[in-house]
């Protein structure tokens, strides 16, 4: 089956085959990253604009790196340097970028649905690099890539996502991809941050950490956002850590071969004990490395590349 998507807006809309194609392509690119010359000419002559209207360091760096590994020219715009601070609308900003003859746009925006909106305006590919609390598709792709790399086929495997689920785009993208790949997903955390509506996405909602972690093969931690404390979502960071922080004792409830994941940035001693973050079960740094390969795959496929190409020549 050929790849025929130009935009990557959500993981909700991707089929099992499409997820496989991205992961296969990423596997090919990952090999390239281990060479001494880490560059392929796949996107030579193409210009990719990273439009980051919300602060980001690691996602932006990874997209930058991925584009450069593919030999594309990259221009990055952030909220401060773009005209949005001067009152320009997203439509006008986007049309200006298109008029500058960019070949692709990677967008990070605080407003859910804005990548979809851009995809309707522009006739160049739009890649969602995180839209508010909605989705963060490349994060979900790199997370499931890392899981498959470590534990193999995800069908029927127990994956737990722990933390602030309500406001998390990482949780939503992972839920969508994991459900498509057949994993058995539980979301766990305080009831204020894990509302029952998530059941409709096909996951189990739990507030009982012990039950949720029992025999799980993957636990993914999400950052607890200090700023939410003021909103009264939970009493204090201290109470959160005492009830839901992952420590050695709780990690012992997991499946013996379980892996521990975190999209970063980590708050050591809050959602995860420091030694667990650095321990042998942690795959946190693999996630970062895989993030480049997966994003190379996404940029490559959405600019018209085909998955077979990489597996043959990569």
């Amino acid at each position: 089956m050929p790849w025929n998507r130009r935009h990557l807006l959500t993981l909700e809309e991707l089929s099992r085959e499409e997820l496989d194609q991205i992961h296969t392509t990423a596997t090919g690119f990952k090999k390239i990253l281990n060479r001494s010359v880490k560059k392929v000419p796949a996107l030579r002559g193409k210009t990719i604009v990273n439009l980051f209207l919300e602060p980001s360091t690691r996602t932006r760096m990874a997209f930058d790196m991925a584009a450069k590994r593919l030999s594309a020219d990259v221009i990055s715009l952030d909220a401060k340097s773009s005209s949005t601070t001067k009152g320009e609308s997203l439509r006008d900003t986007a049309q200006t970028i298109a008029a500058l003859q960019a070949d692709m746009i990677v967008v990070r925006h605080s407003a859910p649905g804005s990548p979809l909106y851009l995809s309707k305006i522009l006739d160049i590919p739009v890649i969602n690099a995180g839209d508010g609390s909605h989705e963060h598709p490349t994060q979900g792709l790199l997370d499931t890539f890392t899981m498959r790399e470590r534990i193999g086929d995800l069908k029927g495997r127990r994956v737990v996502i722990l933390g602030d689920i309500l406001f998390s785009r990482v949780a939503r993208s992972n839920i969508q991809a994991l459900r498509t790949l057949g994993a058995d997903v539980t979301v766990v955390g305080p009831s204020t941050l894990v509302p029952p509506y998530f059941e409709a996405l096909g996951v189990t909602v739990s507030h009982n950490l012990r039950k949720a972690l029992a025999d799980a093969e993957v636990v993914m931690l999400l950052r607890i956002q200090h700023e939410r404390q003021n909103a009264g979502m939970f009493p204090s960071i201290g109470e959160y850590t005492s009830m839901f922080g992952l420590n050695q004792q709780r990690a012992a409830w997991l499946h013996p071969d379980a892996i521990i994941m975190h999209p970063g940035p980590i708050n050591r001693g809050v959602e995860i004990d420091s030694e667990l973050a650095d321990g042998h079960r942690s795959v946190i740094l693999d996630q970062v490395t895989n993030g480049i390969a997966v994003r190379m795959a996404v940029l490559y496929l959405c600019s018209g590349g085909q998955p077979e190409y990489v597996t043959v020549t990569g």
């Binding site: 909700e12 804005s114 909106y117 909103a231």
Partner: protein, 431 residues
């Protein structure tokens, strides 16, 4: 002015329990029981065959944006939309720039109405100064200036104490209070109904409970002070039950529902299209069932549109940043007929009642009836005609309608105000 003879229409006049094919007569702009033989001979005849003739529709919740936001709408164009939608009496909200919280602004609005409006346009004033929720507006002076109600519109008065005093004070002038029921502390940053859809889309949710709390508050304050509080655009199923119980105890509250809340649900927001963004937000099918049941048993008294124009460039934004509100006047009748009559088996006469006699009665307006001696404000519509609504070809300055480009069923053919044709099915008679 020649007399008028509307022939052979299905005349529906809930105030007089009339629903039969027959004739209507108008002399000197007023409904009369019959015309003299001489008058009849000279009368202009309107053939009503196949049409319903009812009192001109009454909408007590519109935004005409004048003064200050006339790039979206003004009193002239707003009144043209009304005429085209079969409405002959409308009540404007005070959230203009500046807000209608002093008599000078009210007088200005009244002058513009006199100059520009083609239907009867009435005004409301603010409850608090500039709708800030801090100090009472000059309610007595506003009453004297002729407002028909007071409301802080979308800026629901949050202080229970201030609302209580507003109730007590307004009661002195027999002035109803209209309230958009929303607890702000529960809806910070909220842009759509809180539920399964908002969870999936990652949009901030506006829970039913935030409406239910203020509906309850208002029922309690109305009972305590005896003031009439009208609850605007009810969207939550629980609110319907709260209102039902309060009314059963004789509390002086009334309520409205909009065509969009009974026709559309939060599923529409799937594509993040701001033409489905309004406040209160579209809710679920379960909420709709209860609102429609409320309209049926009288818990919800009336239909009102919340006609809220915004320009293309204002609405064409990220969902989070687009303003709330949609056009309503030109689509209200066909949408309401489709949902209530065709889907929920209401009688046409019941829908006419919800859109004429009852809203007029609710505010004590001299409208909504075909009783002899009343102004000849009449709407003639074909309940079955199918047509495609093109918002850009419509009469508003804006085109923010979820029904733009949709086929609708039921069409206004003629609108008369004081016996004069203000809309003939194609054109509005402009001033």
């Amino acid at each position: 002015m020649p007399s008028l003879h509307i022939k052979n229409a299905r005349v529906i006049d809930p105030a007089n329990k009339r629903d039969a094919v027959g004739d209507l007569f108008v002399k000197n702009g007023v409904i009369v029981d019959r015309l003299s033989a001489a008058d009849k001979k000279k009368a202009k005849v309107i053939d009503g065959t196949g049409l319903v003739a009812c009192p001109g529709l009454v909408d007590i919740h519109v935004h005409f944006r004048e003064p200050g936001q006339t790039h979206k709408e003004n009193i002239a164009t707003g009144s043209h939309c009304a005429a085209a939608g079969g409405f002959t009496t409308v009540v404007c909200m005070p959230n203009t720039s500046p807000p209608a919280s002093n008599t000078g602004t009210i007088q200005y609005i009244k002058d513009v109405i006199k100059r520009d409006a083609v239907v009867n346009v009435l005004t409301t004033g603010c409850i608090t100064v500039d709708m800030k929720g801090e100090a009472l507006a000059p309610i007595g002076s506003l009453a004297k200036a002729g407002v028909v109600a007071i409301t802080d519109d979308g800026d629901c008065v949050q202080s229970n104490e201030l609302m209580r005093r507003a109730c007590e004070y307004a009661k002195m002038f027999d002035l109803p209070l209209m309230d958009h029921c929303q607890d702000h502390s529960m809806t910070v940053g909220a842009v759509m109904n809180e539920g399964v859809v908002s969870t999936r889309l990652g949009l901030r949710g506006w829970p039913n409970a935030a409406e239910d709390l203020i509906v309850s508050r208002n029922a309690i304050l109305s009972a305590y002070t005896g003031a009439h509080i009208h609850l605007q655009h009810i969207s939550s199923r629980n609110s319907v039950e709260i209102i039902r119980r309060a009314k059963a105890r004789g509390v002086k509250i009334t309520a409205e529902a909009t065509p969009h809340h009974i026709a559309l649900t939060d599923d529409c927001i799937e594509g993040y299209d701001p033409k489905f963004k309004m406040n209160p937000p579209l809710r679920t099918a379960e909420d709709q069932v209860e609102i429609i049941a409320g309209l049926k048993d009288g818990t919800i008294d009336i239909i009102a549109t919340d006609h809220a124009p915004h320009t293309d460039y204002e609405k064409d934004k990220e969902f989070d940043y687009a303003p709330n509100g949609i056009l309503g006047l030109e689509t209200a009748l066909p949408i309401t007929l489709s949902i209530l009559v065709r889907k929920n088996r209401f009688k046409i006469a019941k829908v006419v009642d919800l859109m004429t006699r009852k809203p007029a009665e609710l505010l004590g307006l001299p409208a909504g009836t075909l009783t002899a001696g009343s102004d000849a404000d009449i709407c003639l519509f074909d309940p079955d005609e199918k047509w495609t609504y093109d918002a850009r070809a419509g009469f508003s300055k804006s085109s923010n309608s979820p029904w733009d480009g949709e086929e609708l069923r039921g069409r206004v053919k003629t609108t008369l105000v004081k016996g004069k044709v203000v809309y003939d099915g194609k054109k509005v008679r402009k001033r």
